[in-house]
Amino acid sequence: MRIFRIIPILALIILGTTLNANAQCKAFAKKICLPELGAYTHDGNYHAAILVEGEEAELYKTFYSDMEYRVAICGEDKLPKVEFKVLDSDKNILYSNKDANFAKTWDFKLQSSQQLKLVVKVSSFNKPGDTPASGCVAIMFGFKVKK
């Protein structure tokens, strides 16, 4: 019968920890990632999640020819470097931040509107036996009207 008392307590602890992690992720996105957008207007969308080293996330979005964009991808300090690639609908790589020393931001504009795919991957510390690092990764978009 003891188990019936333990399970609800455990569930509450897990729920509390999850909500706390989510709140921390939102705070991280607002305080650390948002300023990376600089003079670009944040679109107001929220894309953030707890990722573990080696894990990937994908994002699909349409970008318009009238706008200039900045994408900012930020990982918490406790994570290894965060890689991101931008691909077109034929899976051609248009940009990889690996070629830019793992830059957190990329500024771009388009001649014609396109749906693009972003692939974000937390690289690995490669320390066998260690518990894999986990932390918040935020993806934010800023825009301004093309000059």
């Binding site: 992690a21 992720c25 107001g44 080696g54 349409t62 706008m67 051609n92 940009y95």
Partner: protein, 294 residues
């Protein structure tokens, strides 16, 4: 216990418009951590990002469209919305109207529509997304469009992050759908049929075809929710019309400009939408939108 908490934390953090996939993670895990990696295979994320209400409004303005207050959802309708679905859709709709009013510096409407959005957010139990201090800040900066856009962006982020973080992705998706439909509704209503060919706004409407798949994927991630399932049927009706529009794009060539530190993605596009298809699209959007705002 620690391992259980850790793995539960990972599973519990699926976020916004995100759905787990069955894809394998291409890496080798040490034996000691294999159990943990088995769990995180389920936690991979996919985000389906629709244009936000602010971006939709900006697209309308940048296409040279004029402001027309009669196209907005009247704030007198706020008391009609009592279900989570109607409040979520109209939070997106009022936020789009608010963004539209902000970009055209309609000072009184900005306050009115922020209050309407607040009422929807409050009804959905979104704590502190839009509080009195937000309204006060808005009033203090009513003639500063940059600050107003920051406030609109921040309040929208507060709303959708709250919904995502509190296990309500279906409601978060409906907010985005409402905002997207409102932007499309306003755009289609503002097109002057005497100036159809080469009209920039028509071009932006055609571009929305690129987002219809994203929209359906976003809704599919909450499949089984009756409110979402109804929306999927409506969006599929719209997709049938969008499928009549053709968009052909050449291969994209990234060209980096050192001076501006910006990459231009060069490509040519050919689109084809007849005035008849446009009229059908405008009618379908108006019909669907009328079910949201009634």
């Amino acid at each position: 216990m620690v391992v259980l908490l850790f793995t539960s934390l990972l599973i519990g953090c699926k976020s916004g418009g995100a759905k787990p996939t069955k894809q394998e993670i291409p890496m080798e895990a040490p034996k000691e951590t294999k159990a943990v990696y088995d769990e995180i295979k389920q936690a991979e994320k996919i985000f389906n990002a629709l244009p936000s209400p602010l971006e939709s409004a900006m697209l309308i303005k940048s296409a040279g469209a004029r402001f027309n207050e009669t196209l907005l959802n009247p704030i007198g309708n706020v008391n009609n919305y009592v279900t989570n679905k109607s409040m979520a859709l109209n939070l997106g709709i009022y936020t789009c109207d608010l963004s539209f009013a902000s970009l055209y510096e309609q000072t009184q409407l900005i306050i009115d529509y922020m209050n309407a959005a607040k009422k929807m957010a409050d009804g959905l139990g979104i704590l502190k997304a839009i509080d009195q201090s937000t309204i006060d800040k808005l009033e203090e900066n009513i003639n500063n469009s940059e600050v107003i856009m920051e406030i609109v962006s921040e309040t929208f982020m507060n709303s959708n992050s709250y919904l995502e973080d509190n296990g309500q992705p279906a409601v978060a998706a409906m907010v985005l759908v409402g905002g997207w439909f409102e932007g499309l509704y306003i755009s289609t209503q503002l097109v002057d049929m005497h100036d159809f060919n080469g009209n920039k706004l028509v071009g932006r409407i055609i571009d929305q075809k690129l987002s219809i798949g994203i929209l359906l994927n976003l809704l599919q991630s909450s499949k089984g929710n009756p409110a979402v399932d109804e929306l999927v049927i409506q969006v599929n009706k719209l997709k049938i019309v969008f499928d009549k529009i053709s968009i052909t794009t050449s291969k994209i060539r990234p060209v980096f400009d050192k001076t501006s530190n910006t990459t231009m993605l060069k490509s040519d596009v050919k689109t084809d939408m007849t005035p008849e298809v446009f009229k059908e699209l405008a009618t379908t959007v108006a019909e669907i939108r009328s079910t949201f705002v009634k």
